[in-house]
């Protein structure tokens, strides 16, 4: 096991990794920007090193500074968290060349699954269903039209380097396709420096279901069942749960097996997530692999009883996974609500500022993962996640009741949060009946 690792991240995931390390007896070096210098979780690390000013591009995203901090911090490995450098294959390569362990997949596997087009090729190789679409990148508008006609309208244009909905366009016919093509490639070029676009059939009102995978460097690859993240707003996940409600048992088994097959084909190890969409007929299609720990990993932890971050650190240190697939038996139902510093009444505008008072919920089945405390100032430079409220109960109905109870106990004074939105979703009958697809929240808010 590592003696000391560096955490190349901030906020709740930095605290999450510190907690895992403290339980493993591993020392931690935290890095921080000047905007985060007063954050309380830094005191739980064994050492904290300032790597730059508030702007992420000058601090958390600066590979040279993070590596320097790892060197002066004298660590054996780096945990990248999520976001920032976590899916940057070049960063993973630099770590390797500096002889610093990277707590994640190899740079090669990361690159293989990171590009959507090559990931689709891997999926086909592994016999995992993809949304019908182009075999590779589309290079001209004419080709786009030909492909779209062959797979059938409506179609979805996606940036190969994309994420978070950027560079995505839906086209219902030839005419719409022409302008969508130009917008999508321009947007992709601007956002990712890569104008590569591919085309898929547009699946209407899909559910977003993803499979948590976990593999070691000795050839074992397991899944920790699925999460349903259909409750989204503008492609941003709001509520995640496990198991996915209304998923047929055979679909579930097939999807989890497909995820493991795909990960093995990619030569993947560590924790990761294989994302699928499920259409209204219950067919599932591979979308992408997230080569890192995910924000919503706690719901899988709750139902399986497995600490994913500790497992991730253990396999990075070369340990074998002791468990077998048949040992991973889900129990009960878990739900996570992301508590963001946003104002639901004001177009979900980020709402940085000082938290005057906070009362965390507690009791049976409640977990609150948050780096904030009274007096904490939410900096405007990063994402607006304040914490994650996770509940675990015997049934989905009880999980909803516990979540509503816990949300009402959670008091955050000084800034606006997404708590009222969550309460609205939980009270919605479509959510109760699990009639949720990725368009649900927007329809609810419009209604």
């Amino acid at each position: 096991m590592f003696k000391r690792i560096l955490i190349a991240n901030r906020g709740e995931i930095a605290l999450r990794v510190i907690r895992a390390c403290r339980e493993l007896g591993v020392e931690t070096v935290a890095i921080y920007s000047q905007a985060d210098r007063d954050a309380g979780y830094l005191q739980l690390a064994d050492e904290a090193i300032c790597v730059g000013p508030a702007r992420a591009a000058d601090s958390y995203l600066r590979i040279d500074r993070v590596i320097s901090a790892a060197e002066i911090g004298n660590v054996q490995a780096i945990h990248p968290g999520y976001g920032f450098l976590s899916e940057n294959a070049h960063f993973a390569e630099v770590c390797r060349s500096c002889d610093i362990g990277f707590i994640g997949p190899t740079p090669e596997a990361m690159a293989r699954v990171g590009d959507k087009n090559s990931a689709r090729a891997l999926a086909r190789e592994a016999g995992v269903p993809c949304v019908p679409g182009s075999d590779g990148l589309i290079t001209s508008e004419q080709e786009a039209v030909t492909v779209a006609r062959s797979i059938g309208f409506p179609v979805l244009l996606k940036a190969t380097a994309g994420g978070g909905g950027k560079g995505m366009r839906v086209a219902a016919n030839d005419l719409a396709l022409a302008s969508a093509w130009q917008q999508a490639s321009a947007e992709a070029q601007a956002a990712f420096g890569n104008a590569g676009i591919y085309i898929e059939r547009y699946v209407e009102r899909p559910r977003h279901v993803e499979v948590q995978i976990l593999g070691d460097t000795h050839g074992t690859m397991l899944h920790l069942w699925e999460r349903d993240c259909s409750t989204q707003r503008r492609h941003q996940k709001l509520i995640e749960e496990s198991p996915s409600p209304r998923l047929a048992p055979e679909t579930r088994t097939a999807m989890c097996a497909a995820a493991v097959r795909l990960a093995k084909t990619a030569g993947y190890h560590s924790a990761g997530t294989v994302e699928f969409i499920v259409d209204q007929q219950g067919n599932f299609y591979f979308i992408e692999i997230n080569a890192r720990i995910q924000v919503e990993h706690p719901v899988s932890e709750m139902v399986t009883g497995i600490d994913l971050v500790k497992a991730q650190i253990r396999v990075a240190a070369g340990e074998k996974l002791e468990m077998k697939q048949e040992d991973i038996v889900p129990r009960g139902h878990a739900i996570e609500c992301r508590i963001n510093a946003e104002d639901p009444a004001n177009g979900f505008r980020p709402c940085p500022g000082r938290i005057e008072r906070i009362t965390a919920p507690g009791g049976f089945g409640v977990r609150f993962d948050s780096h904030v405390a009274a007096g904490y100032v939410v900096p405007p430079h990063y994402d607006s996640l304040l914490g994650k409220l996770i509940v675990h109960q015997a049934t989905r109905r009880e999980a909803i009741e516990t979540m509503a109870r816990a949300l009402k106990e959670l008091r955050i004074e000084g800034i606006k949060t997404t708590v009222p939105l969550h309460l609205e979703v939980l009270a919605n009958s479509a959510f109760h009946d699990s009639q949720v697809d990725t368009t649900f929240v927007e329809r609810m808010l419009a209604g």
């Binding site: 000047q34 790597v51 730059g52 590596i67 901090a69 002066i72």
Partner: protein, 156 residues
């Protein structure tokens, strides 16, 4: 709900204004009204400790390290702080003389130290003129971003 509605909107600014006027008129320090799930709480004036004359002059808070990389004035002394994370060296080699020592007069172009980061040795220029009054970091020590390295008196 019905009770709350019957009481009208407690966020009614006029009502709050009247309450505040009442507080001023009668020199109240706090009003706290609570009913069902409604609550109005208003505090006025100095909540806590009042120190009597003479009031001690509290030194203004200054920060010598908060700047992005440029030194920040604290009274008269300027500070050169580290523009990166790395290892601090006072000289270019074990047998070389230090770039600067206390008492030296330096100009903006003058290299004051080396910071090694990722096997790259970066010469750090002073950026300011003046006389070195202190070297704050030991040779070979790790430094973080923004850490004060050298103090300079610009007027000496």
């Amino acid at each position: 709900m019905s009770a709350a509605q019957s009481q009208g909107d407690i966020f009614d600014v006029k009502k709050v204004r009247r309450l505040i006027e009442l507080m001023k008129e009668h020199d109240l320090s706090e009003i706290d009204l609570k009913q069902a799930d409604q609550r109005v709480r208003i505090k006025r004036g100095q909540e806590a400790v009042v120190y009597a004359p003479p009031v001690a002059a509290v030194a203004p808070r200054t920060s010598v390290v908060a700047a992005e990389s440029a030194p920040v004035e604290s009274s008269r002394i300027l500070v050169i702080s580290s523009p990166m994370v790395g290892t601090f060296y006072r000289s270019s080699g074990p047998d070389s003389a230090p770039f600067v020592k206390v008492g030296d007069r330096i100009g903006p172009e003058k290299a004051v130290c080396i910071i090694e980061a990722m096997k790259v040795f970066n010469e750090i220029p002073a950026g300011i003129s003046g006389q070195v009054v202190a070297v704050l970091v030991e040779n070979g020590a790790a430094v973080e971003f923004g850490q004060p390295l050298i103090k300079v008196d610009p007027e000496a």
